[in-house]
């Protein structure tokens, strides 16, 4: 009985992870991966950019940024965001 338990244990604990690892090799070849959810990536980028704009405004308000720098950088970021929004609208 103990021997059976040991064998079962060995099977489950040791063989299964190895089988799980090898399994993908038995599938047909996948050469391209859906460059996953590019929509998600764009959305994430948009959020990051919004955050950066907000932070820029804050830095300017507390005096860590001079006006010229602030205006330039903000327009840069805003351009990026509008580009992303256009892309997202297409999808």
């Amino acid at each position: 009985m103990d021997l059976l338990k040991d064998y079962l244990f060995t099977l489950i604990v040791f063989l299964i992870p190895i089988m799980y690892s090898i399994q993908p090799l038995l599938l047909p070849k996948i050469s391209t991966v859906k460059t996953s959810n590019s929509k998600d990536i764009l959305r994430r980028k948009k959020i990051v950019l919004y955050r950066q704009i907000k932070e820029l405004e804050m830095e300017y308000d507390i005096g860590n940024l001079d006006k010229e720098d602030f205006i330039n950088r903000r327009s840069e970021l805003k351009t990026e965001v509008s580009e992303i929004i256009t892309e997202l609208k297409k999808k």
């Binding site: 040991d6 992870p17 070849k29 996948i30 996953s36 804050m58 860590n64």
Partner: protein, 653 residues
């Protein structure tokens, strides 16, 4: 579950780590996605097998299976359960398995978290982590195996047991905390290395690991502070930091990691300091491995070192491989690492960060130099010379104070450059306070570094305060919020920044605590019941001395009544001298232990140790230390942790 399962698990883990590396290598060449999946799953399998091995060892410890050498060495039937568990990291082979265990947890989290993102970076991230796991698997499989059976020709009835000195909660938590820190830097390093390989050293890898780095940094910080706190509370020499090689081993990666944490802010915002960031993370990871090496091998004479074994050279080889591969790869990727932008002015925030990096690295070098001084001096002069705390303090205090100053100056600087007008506007208030404090402290008869340190603390405090104030003012004028609401919202919307400022405040408090060290006073004396002794501005009277037999030890207790110069009662101290296993017939197995008593206030700690009793039991030998401001170190530590938690608090996007 036999112990063999543990050994086999370790073997399989090692095999899988090699297979994982090979598979991912081929994936990079063929772009066959199946190979990526297999490589990724093999990476997870390595972790899985390590988990099995760890659970097996933990189980053997819990059931006290003394057929295993490790169990017999570090536990006995009587060891309380919690310490049977903590015995997992008490010894060399167990602690290496524990390192692997934590790395495997982080490995699993990293792989699962990134399942759908970062396809380009992940293969090499997994390869790097597998190589690191592989290294520790080589150690635990072939050099120091925790499942080694007991080598005796009799049946081991009961184990050696864990020394009672180690049976306290802090000692149980301190190693895991530190390990969480040491091991954690494997992940940012893996991403950095992958970024180098993939010629993608821009913002992507930084964004992937920023939070992870902060969490790891927090663990390392807590681990270091806990170690100091434990030394202070338990070991009885009245200090919390001795510049011991093993202490230094944890401090060095902390220094480069802190620089890294700051420096990646610049890369995220301005895409500068790419090379610095690479260098810093490589150094941090290497120092973590090196630190593990210093702690585990007998290379440096330290109160922490274990038996010398063949571990030492293997660790060193691994560190060299890391350094050579990483810096070598950096050399070949130097074009990719050149930042498009340049630092334009000395009085810019960017410049502040640059000097911040520089000073941290320099302190790290100074500590490294002092720690390895015996090795260096022997190589040069033939004499092995060790250096003690006075050496480290003399070198590091001025540099540390420069860093403290920078903590105040940095946040006041503007991006790209600060105009003269702005400089005056921002710096006048803190600088004035600095000068006034310096005068005030000198007036109170303080001198030299103490005056500078306290005055700088005031300076930094003023600088941080003014930053908070400006933030609140910006919100109240823009949004019409009340001060309190503005304060809350400001922090809420800028958790990294203000969390960081709170951490800086914590550091200021710690510096206040460190500076108190300059005023430490101590005295050792013999005293009879009824007699008085004066130390610093306090009077100590031994009111009673008695003995007590307790379940697992024998105690001599002294009651000390403490009063100040005016006769006002301050406190009663009750230091004890204990002997554990006092009934053991073998005198050498009896374990003496001083249970010290500390009276702690914000102002000072009064620290008492009962050293010994005279043979006629009439005279107690007591050591008293009056340590000002120590409590501020621990308060600062709490604030540091609190600030970090705020910075880490997740946003609900």
């Amino acid at each position: 579950m036999t112990p063999i399962a543990g050994s086999v698990a370790l073997n399989l883990a090692f095999g899988c780590s090699i297979l994982s590396i090979i598979t991912l290598f081929f994936y990079n060449r063929t772009a066959d996605h199946r190979l990526f999946l297999t490589g990724q799953r093999l990476g997870l399998a390595v972790s899985f097998f390590v988990f099995i091995a760890t659970f097996v060892l933990s189980y053997q410890l819990l059931i006290s299976n003394f057929d295993i050498d490790y169990v017999a060495r570090y536990t006995s039937f009587e060891t309380p359960t919690i310490y049977k568990i903590s015995a997992l990291w008490a010894g060399q082979s167990g602690s290496l398995l524990f390192w692997l265990f934590i790395l495997s947890i982080f490995n699993t989290i990293t792989i699962i978290q990134n399942q759908s993102k970062h396809h380009t970076l992940m293969p090499w991230v997994i390869i790097t982590m597998s190589v690191t796991q592989g290294f520790f698997l080589i150690l635990t499989n072939f050099i120091t195996n925790p499942f080694e059976p007991t080598q005796t020709d009799f049946i081991v009835e009961n184990g050696n047991g864990l020394n009672p000195l180690l049976q306290n909660v802090t000692m149980a938590i301190h190693p895991p905390m530190l390990y969480l820190g040491y091991v954690g830097f494997t992940v940012p390093f893996a991403f950095a290395f992958s970024a180098l390989v993939n010629k993608d050293t821009g913002v992507l890898w930084i964004r992937s690991i920023r939070r992870w780095t902060l969490v790891t940094w927090l663990f390392l910080s807590i681990g270091i502070i806990l170690g100091g706190w434990w030394a202070y509370q338990e070991l009885g020499w009245g200090g919390y930091w001795a510049w011991d090689p093993v202490e230094n081993a944890s401090f060095m990666p902390w220094l480069t990691a802190t620089a890294f944490l700051h420096s990646i802010i610049i890369q995220e915002k301005k895409d500068m300091l790419r090379i610095w960031n690479m260098v810093l993370i490589i150094l941090t990871f290497s120092l973590c491995i090196f630190g593990t090496f210093l702690t585990r091998s007998g290379v440096m004479s330290s109160v922490h070192s274990f038996t010398e074994s063949s571990l030492g050279p293997v660790f060193l080889i691994f560190v060299f491989i890391i350094l050579i591969c990483s810096f070598g790869l950096m050399y070949f990727r130097i074009e990719d690492l050149r930042s498009p932008r340049k630092i334009e002015s000395v009085t810019s925030r960017e410049s502040g960060f640059l000097f911040n990096n520089l000073i941290f690295v320099v302190i790290c070098f100074a500590v490294f130099w002092g720690t390895l001084f015996p090795v260096i001096s022997e190589a040069i002069t033939g004499n092995k010379i060790s250096v003690g705390p006075p050496f480290f303090n003399q070198i590091n205090i001025p540099i540390g104070l420069a860093l403290l100053a920078l903590t105040g100056i940095g946040p006041l600087l503007a991006w790209k450059g600060t105009s003269n007008q702005k400089l005056i506007q921002k710096f006048t208030f803190p600088t004035l306070l600095f000068l006034l404090s310096a005068v005030a402290f000198t007036f109170f008869k303080m001198t030299g570094y103490v005056v500078i340190s306290f005055s700088l603390c005031v300076f930094v405090f003023a600088a941080i305060f003014s930053e908070f104030l400006k933030g609140i003012q910006a919100r109240t004028s823009k949004f019409g919020e009340s001060t309190l609401l503005a304060f809350y919202k400001m922090i809420h919307k800028n958790r990294s920044r203000y969390g960081g400022y709170i951490v800086h405040l914590g550091i200021v408090l710690m510096f206040i605590g460190f500076t108190g060290h300059a005023f430490d006073k101590e005295k050792e004396f013999g005293i009879k019941v009824g007699e008085f002794e004066k130390v610093a501005n306090y009077n100590f009277q031994l009111t009673r001395m008695f003995e007590e037999e307790r379940p697992n030890h024998y105690a001599w207790i002294s009651d000390l009544r403490v009063t100040d110069n005016n006769g006002n009662f301050i406190t009663n101290l009750r230091p004890e001298k204990r002997v554990y296993f006092h009934r053991n017939p073998d005198v050498n197995k009896r374990q003496p232990h001083s249970e010290l008593d500390i009276f702690s206030t914000l102002n000072k700690d009064i620290y008492s140790i009962f050293s010994s009793v005279s043979n006629d039991n009439n005279t107690a030998f007591i050591k008293i230390m009056v340590n000002p401001l120590v409590k501020w170190v621990w308060i600062g530590g709490y604030l540091l942790a609190f600030g970090t938690v705020i910075a880490l608090w997740p946003r609900k996007d």
